[in-house]
Subunit: 406 residues, 2 copies
């Protein structure tokens, strides 16, 4: 007998019929002899509605009040799920972040979990009770409700699984697993049976949007076996596991893309020590995250061209910051470009295989796609290309790495 | 400088525009030099929606889970109101029942407040901060969220006013005060400037539905001056105060009616000791509240006819209970009748005035209205009549006691 954490996302608890369906999945897991803890998101659409109220109430709203308002969505689902379980004959009890407590830091709106006191939950699970935990929320050191950022219920579930030393954490969603690529774009995309934490982390942050990045980090650090699966059809999903659980590792596991990128080029930046810090410091202070960075010597040899990417949503803010510091930096020109897409080839296998990058560049060249920026990590190669090539590039790479279903 | 508690009902916080309007009323009270604490209900319609979810999730839902689900409505409004106040330049912070805490007993769904720890709230009010308290909710001895029953936010507000030793508790609603009678029925109904706690208690429980009965009880016990007023138009409302604050007391202050009554007559009940207990005991055990009771000797002298009223919602349940015990009691016949209305004449002045009841009976007789049951208290005379006479009876009495506006 093991312990399983089951997490149900917004579409899996969209209304009472769906909640009842999810309760059936809990019951089934229990009948397989396992102890189950449940984590729930808000009903689909509810969080957006609550966030809308906040934006309407105040132009710059207080993050502490925002947290108290939006956390109510998960509170409702947790109570209803406990009722549905009881109705199905399963002893259940709902738990809010402050009740357990799930302790976080005090960074309201995107708090981090610092600890979960799971003793009482474990005691009750040992008696057969199913705790239904409101996801997305915790409690600050001063006793205020905190939330973990959008998608934070994944993180609640994984952190709870770690605290409970659960055998597995099942993330129920509206897709049935992680694919080699977005099936809406690549018809031959295949569901992966297993994927490593590292790959999933890249897939998630590259826009695959299946799991919150932070949840995968916690799973990796605490070696929590994750499963992504659908609450709407049977069958196994994708297991996110440690590398040594995967016997035959593919060189490339998947292709990800993100349209959420914008490119900024600073032309003729004076090439002197400290200039990068003078540019990226103020951006960081303004809360703008910079992703890919490349720097070339320009023709005159006295200045460089600096290109980097930010998220599309932060482009305006970034441009404003850069214009504000130009008196000091004195670059030649500022060229913002939102019409780009980042395409990534991901796979832990590329650590031990040469020629992976070459195959990518060749496939793109054969399709006449110009690469604007390249960035690499141990298990990933990302390129920035013109947004209009998104589908073409993704499909070409999916084929080039032999990922198409036969 | 005094302390004022302002409570806003569901229609006064129905959307963000209304919440902003309410925040303006808080600001105005503050500018008059008072410290203000705010209590809010759920946005209009929200509680009904949440209750609907619960009924859908489980036929017989767990009251503890119900409380956790429905309490979320006030949580949302409290956060939004705090934001709206901050936006208007008023320092504010939302507070949930368990955060203050508002301690209650553990009778989920209709908990009673046992204490409010207001020290921290008072400390913050002294610095100029406005606490925005989620109404309707508290925390049980075991740390679970409790709710105080429908309309419970009134009770939250009055109990908070008592704890804060507030000068006044203003209940903002969608009517501008307490009337001599329901203005939808009696065109000449007048707004009362002042009414005693005792009268208000009778008005509330007789169906005037302006304030939760329990809130008036607490106000009376702690001598909290209440004001019922509208958040939609200016001008004073109705003050609910101690009797000695009212200099010139009317004999009758108002006429109330309740269509929520059903009559049950047991014909030929054996007239022996203990029979009343044998009937009302099982009803009470089944949670059926009995209101008016009359008992007559029947013609044969060996049995009595027993008539009493229950709420319409509990009529079926009452009939079932009575049929179940007939083998034991052996009454002749059971006659249920839902087509009745209870009409009450209310006034503390009737304590010192004779002839008040006579005027009621005369007015009804002159209009050909037959009285089925009579019950009296120190400050109230209630009669049960055929429901079809509701408007006629109420208007006749309003005129008979000289309450019509001139």
């Amino acid at each position: 007998m093991g312990r399983i954490v089951q997490k149900f996302g917004g579409t899996s608890v969209a209304d009472i019929a769906h909640i009842r369906n999810a309760a059936g999945l809990v019951q089934a897991e229990r009948e397989r002899g396992n102890q189950v803890a449940v984590v729930v998101s808000a009903m689909a659409g509810v969080t957006n509605q609550l966030v809308g109220y906040c934006s309407e109430a105040a132009a710059l709203y207080d993050a502490r009040e925002y947290d108290s308002v939006v956390a109510s969505g998960e509170q409702v689902t947790a109570g209803l799920m406990a009722m549905a379980l009881q109705e199905a004959g399963v002893p259940a009890r709902s738990w809010l972040g402050p009740q357990i407590p799930i302790r976080t830091n005090d960074v309201h709106g995107k708090a981090r979990i610092v600890g979960i006191d799971s003793v009482e939950l474990e005691r009750r699970m040992d008696t057969g009770e199913v705790p239904v935990v409101a996801g997305f929320q915790g409690v600050s050191p001063t006793g205020r409700i905190t939330t973990l950022g959008r998608g934070g219920s994944d993180t609640s579930a994984v952190a709870l699984a770690a605290a409970l030393k659960a055998e597995r954490c099942d993330i129920y969603t509206d897709v049935d697993g992680v694919y080699t690529c977005d099936p809406r774009i690549v018809r031959g995309a295949r569901k992966l049976h297993k994927i490593t934490y590292e790959e999933m982390l890249e897939m998630a942050s590259q826009g695959a949007k299946v799991l919150q990045t932070r949840s995968v980090e916690i799973a990796m650090n605490h070696r929590v076996r994750l499963q992504v699966l659908s609450s709407f059809d049977d069958g196994p999903g994708t297991l996110v596991v440690d590398e040594d659980e995967i016997v035959e590792q593919q060189v490339v596991s998947g292709i990800a893309y993100s349209r959420d990128e914008a490119k900024i080029t600073l032309v003729k930046v004076p090439d002197k020590p400290g200039v990068a810090a003078a540019i990226f410091g103020p951006l960081s202070d303004a809360g703008v995250n910079v992703d890919m960075i490349v720097q070339n010597i320009s023709e005159d040899g006295k200045s460089t061209d600096l290109t980097f990417t930010v998220s599309k949503a932060e482009l305006k803010q970034a441009v404003r910051v850069l214009e504000g510091i130009n008196g000091e930096i004195r670059f030649g020109q500022l060229r913002p470009d939102p019409n780009v897409v980042k395409i990534s080839v991901i796979g832990v296998g590329m650590r031990s295989h040469a020629g992976v990058a070459l195959r990518m560049f060749t496939a793109l060249a054969e399709n006449g796609i110009n690469i604007q920026v390249i960035s690499t990590s141990e298990i990933k190669i990302s390129v920035l290309v013109d947004e209009k090539y998104t589908e073409l590039a993704v499909r070409a790479l999916h084929t080039a790495y032999g990922l198409d279903a036969t």
